[in-house]
């Protein structure tokens, strides 16, 4: 299954060391957000809206405040006053400050069931919970709108009184739930379709799904009398929490310190802030530390799901199977406030293929659901579902193999994408070729109601900003301070890139994730950027340490730095070949006689560098009685550029694949007519269990990224894009029924089989 990608070129990279933080995690000693305990700490809870859409007429907290043990109550009145037009930049473009504040604590309206309204701090959790039941909120209930197509209708209830559509970059005065319309165009799509031999068009729907991290959101805050605010939280980016909390609270950023605890999963969902400012306000009012923990229902109903979507896709191909034109219309549910990953869907829909004539129109639409948050390759899975299943249809019409049609059209270096990006060296073709050559694909699948499917997906790499510092200790070990949340082993993959430069045992590098007061600015752990960008910063820091160590050796030997070199893992005196020092020996000498060595690395790697492609092969068996789809075999193939720690690369591929399987078959938010989520538990919102899936076979492809010293491509996300499409294709192969709505849950399978039997009463449905 896994190929160990270690090779002679590298000493550390490509090996599989035990992670530095592993032991404390397996013995239960690692401190996650909920484990924070501070002297005099109070506990809190948040009252959430029971309505999907309502105007808040009044809030009466007097009875709650009178309850013994209740220490403070806060509402949006405790947040700074916001003007409708105040804008802030949170690193992803300008955002209306009112939207950010209102999502923390609702002011004039509640926009989804689960919208936070009141925060309470009490002596213990039980009192806080009891206090919530004493709060009286008077609502004027409004009609909700919970699906994207309903929200786009002219007569749809409007969520925001002031929201107007941004039409291709121009702000219009049309009041609407459509926050933005974006368009990309390449070549001449109209002519492309006219010249095509085959044109097909279909509509696709995907359900709202949740990232489903096992650790609920949390936030603990201390507001000291001098105005110094410290926040402990499990977040994908301490600096983004710092920036957002300072903006929401209108507090100087220098007075906000954020301490990132260990984090129990995020997948994009722990980039926004929810509880942190509420804990801060409660601490300011009480003078005590306040800890807030979200309930699981709060997580489902109040935090970022990934958008439900509507996609309409038209493809044109010539007789050889070459794609000649594409036209995609996509509309994503942003949730209560604008900002779905619609623009990513527009970028990704045609990203795996060279299509000379293409147009994409994307719409960002607000609905009465929680504000959507990023979820692993945000927007890519929805569009991969559309294009990858339609490609299968074209291949079938032309009698082509799944890989044949993909390889014929695969994007490569120089391919111009619909959003006008021209690819540098990428590994799309190589992942497809690896799939075609795999044991899985070359092993026949037999038996009734069984089928095989293939699909490919894409995600780009964000570069952005990272920095690390490295202090050399007297024993030759190194303390490596970084600022990227470690969400799946990145401390070690970053330390390995540092260690490689200096040929140090990776155990001698001690990586630590610093708080916002200990390390310079780092962007979030997201966009598949951490091993890539923070690893790059660690590489630079190691080069800096190397230069300084060369100076220390030169001082010791009373030479110029030019007369010392680092080669064959030792510092060498070029004037006297009998003299050389290991890193450890030199560290000891330098710590006694010279100034301390502290290296730094700092990068800003921009946007859209590299990019990773993932291909899946999946075998399924469908039970025609129950409609249950069983995954018999699953192979995930992905371009890692260079796998620093292959086990954690495989882990990303396996984890993303299984999230994609859940998205395909099980997961969705159920809403009733009032817009209330009816399955906000892990029993009813069913993520895959160990029993639902087989081993996930992995094939790591390595097409080096030209813009990284070791060729790293971020591998965190592309893996979630292909599974729903691959499974859809496999189900089609098994049953002859093509699904265009997710999830493909048992009742839909049974209904589709029944419809097929009705239409073709004399034909066996499958297995013939």
């Amino acid at each position: 299954m896994s190929n160990n990608s270690g090779n002679g070129k590298y000493k550390i990279i490509g090996t599989r060391p035990i992670r530095h933080d592993g032991t404390e995690k397996v013995i239960g000693k690692a401190i996650y957000g909920a484990d924070v305990r501070l002297s005099g700490m109070l506990h809190g809870q948040v009252l959430r809206s029971p309505h999907a859409h309502a105007r808040i007429k009044s809030i009466d907290t007097s009875k709650a405040e009178a309850l013994e043990g209740v220490r403070a109550v806060v509402t949006s009145d405790d947040l700074p006053k916001t003007n409708e037009d105040d804008m802030i930049d949170l690193g992803e473009g300008m955002t209306r400050l009112k939207y950010i504040r209102d999502n923390i604590l609702a002011s004039d309206k509640v926009l989804y069931r689960g919208h936070a309204v009141v925060g309470v701090a009490a002596n213990n959790q039980q009192i806080a919970d009891e206090a919530l039941s004493l709060i009286e909120v008077e609502y004027e209930v409004l009609p909700p709108v919970v699906t994207v197509l309903d929200a786009m209708k002219d007569d749809a209830p409007l969520l925001h009184d002031t929201l107007t559509t941004d039409e291709l970059g121009e702000q219009t005065d049309k009041k609407s739930n459509i926050a933005a319309h974006l368009q990309h165009k390449l070549g001449d799509p109209e002519k492309g379709f006219k010249d095509a031999d085959i044109v097909i068009e279909h509509e696709f729907h995907t359900a709202t799904v949740h990232q489903g991290y096992i650790e609920p959101h949390n936030g603990t805050a201390v507001w000291n009398p001098d105005g110094q605010l410290t926040i402990w939280t499990s977040t994908q980016g301490a600096f983004v929490v710092q920036k957002q909390a300072a903006a929401v609270l209108d507090h100087p950023i220098s007075k906000v310190k954020v301490v990132p605890t260990e984090i129990g999963g995020g997948f994009g969902g722990k980039i926004p802030i929810y509880l942190e400012p509420v804990a801060a306000l409660l601490s300011r009012k009480t003078g005590h530390p306040v800890k807030l923990l979200m309930t699981r229902a709060g997580v489902f109903e109040g935090t970022g799901p990934t958008p439900g979507s509507y996609v309409r896709l038209k493809l044109g191909a010539d007789k050889s199977g070459k794609l000649v034109a594409g036209d995609c219309y996509l509309a994503f549910e942003a949730g209560a406030y604008p900002g779905s990953p619609m623009f990513c869907g527009c970028m990704c829909v045609f990203a795996c293929y060279e299509i000379p004539n293409a147009i994409v129109n994307g719409y960002d639409v607000v609905v009465n659901k929680p504000k959507s948050a990023p979820y692993r390759a945000p927007g890519s899975t929805q569009v991969a579902f559309a294009i990858e299943t339609m490609l299968d249809e074209i291949a079938e019409k032309l009698g082509m193999d799944a890989f044949e049609i993909r390889l014929l059209n695969a994007a490569k270096e120089g391919t111009r994408r619909v959003d006008d990006l021209v690819y540098p060296r990428i590994g799309c073709v190589e992942t497809m070729e690896a799939g075609k050559a795999s044991d899985h694909y070359n092993t026949p699948l037999e038996g009734p109601y069984r089928g095989r499917g293939v699909a490919t997906g894409y995600w780009f790499n964000i570069g952005f900003k990272s920095c690390v510092t490295a202090s050399v200790n007297e024993d030759g070990t190194v303390n490596l301070m970084e600022g990227s949340t470690d969400i799946g082993g990145s401390r070690t993959s970053i330390a390995m890139q540092f260690a490689e430069v200096l040929a140090l045992p990776v155990e001698d590098v001690n990586p630590r994730v610093g708080d916002t007061g200990e390390i310079g600015y780092n962007d979030v752990t997201g966009g598949s950027r951490t091993t890539y960008a923070t690893g790059y910063a660690a590489y630079n820091a190691a080069q800096d340490v190397k230069e300084q160590m060369i100076e220390r050796a030169a001082n010791h030997w009373e030479l110029k730095a030019d007369d010392v070199e680092f080669a064959d893992e030792v510092f060498k005196n070029k004037k006297d070949s009998s003299k050389q020092l290991t890193f450890k020996e030199l560290a000891k000498i330098a710590s006694a006689d010279d100034s301390p060595v502290i290296g730094k690395g700092s990068v800003n790697l921009g946007f859209n560098i590299g990019g990773s492609f993932a291909t899946n092969i999946v075998d399924v068996e469908v039970d025609p009685e129950t409609g249950k789809v069983t995954i018999l075999r699953f192979t995930a193939i992905q371009d890692a550029g260079k796998a620093i720690h292959p086990s954690y690369v495989e882990g990303q591929m396996q984890g993303g694949s299984v999230q994609g399987i859940g998205w395909a078959l099980n997961e969705e938010y159920f809403y009733n007519a009032d817009g209330k989520m009816e399955n906000s538990t892990f029993l009813d919102y069913r993520i895959p269990t160990a029993l639902d899936i087989p081993m996930i076979e992995t094939i790591i492809v390595e097409v080096p990224n030209p813009s990284h010293p070791y060729g790293v491509r971020g591998v965190g996300e592309a893996n979630i894009a292909p599974p729903p499409a691959a499974i859809t294709n496999a189900i089609y192969n098994a049953l002859g029924v093509r699904f265009r709505e997710l999830p493909m849950r048992p009742d839909r399978i049974i209904a589709a089989l029944a419809a097929k039997r009705e239409a073709e009463p004399l034909e066996a449905v499958a297995g013939s």
Binding site: I214, E650, T681
Partner: protein, 159 residues
């Protein structure tokens, strides 16, 4: 509310505490006794992050009242390693990279220990069936299953 006096053995140590009748074992372990290795993921018995062993039976500590452990023996994740080193399951979880974020890991370790205690050589299907009450969102379970298989092999050899 009158508190109730409970005597129990946790990770081999005799422990006494006072608790309210409403308190879950998870709450008492985490908030009163300092065993924060058991995690709360759902508080309704669906994620398994708070798994502990009670008199040899695997339970979700969020679904057990603290008063129920009177006279009983509890094993939490903190009780797996000894002064001599890690439990083979812990070691194999590390070697197999079976954890990414690690929040579900204590529950999986405790659940897997309960399995191997009563079935030292489980099949892959038996492992998957037993661990179906523990949710992991990061790993896709592959490396967790392999770690349990490896630990089973090591423990059988040394037994």
């Amino acid at each position: 509310m009158n508190k109730i006096h409970i005597q129990s053995k946790i990770n081999g140590e005799n422990i006494e505490f006072l608790c309210e009748p409403r308190q879950s074992l998870l709450e008492v372990l985490r908030e009163d006794l300092g065993f924060t290795g058991s995690k709360e993921g759902c508080n309704d018995g669906n994620c398994g992050a708070c798994s502990v062993i009670m008199n040899g039976i695997l339970v979700d500590s969020c679904l057990v009242l603290a008063v129920e452990i009177q006279g009983k023996e509890i094993t939490t994740v903190e009780g797996l390693a000894t002064v001599d080193g890690l439990h083979p399951l812990q070691q194999k979880f590390l070697e197999n990279a079976s954890l990414q974020c690690g929040i579900c890991t204590p529950g999986f370790l405790v659940a897997a220990k309960a399995l191997l205690d009563q079935n030292p050589n489980p099949t892959e299907h038996e492992i998957r069936h037993w661990l179906a009450g523990n949710l992991c969102r990061c790993t896709g379970y592959d490396k967790i299953i392999r770690a349990v298989q490896d630990a089973s092999a090591v423990m059988s050899k040394s037994a």
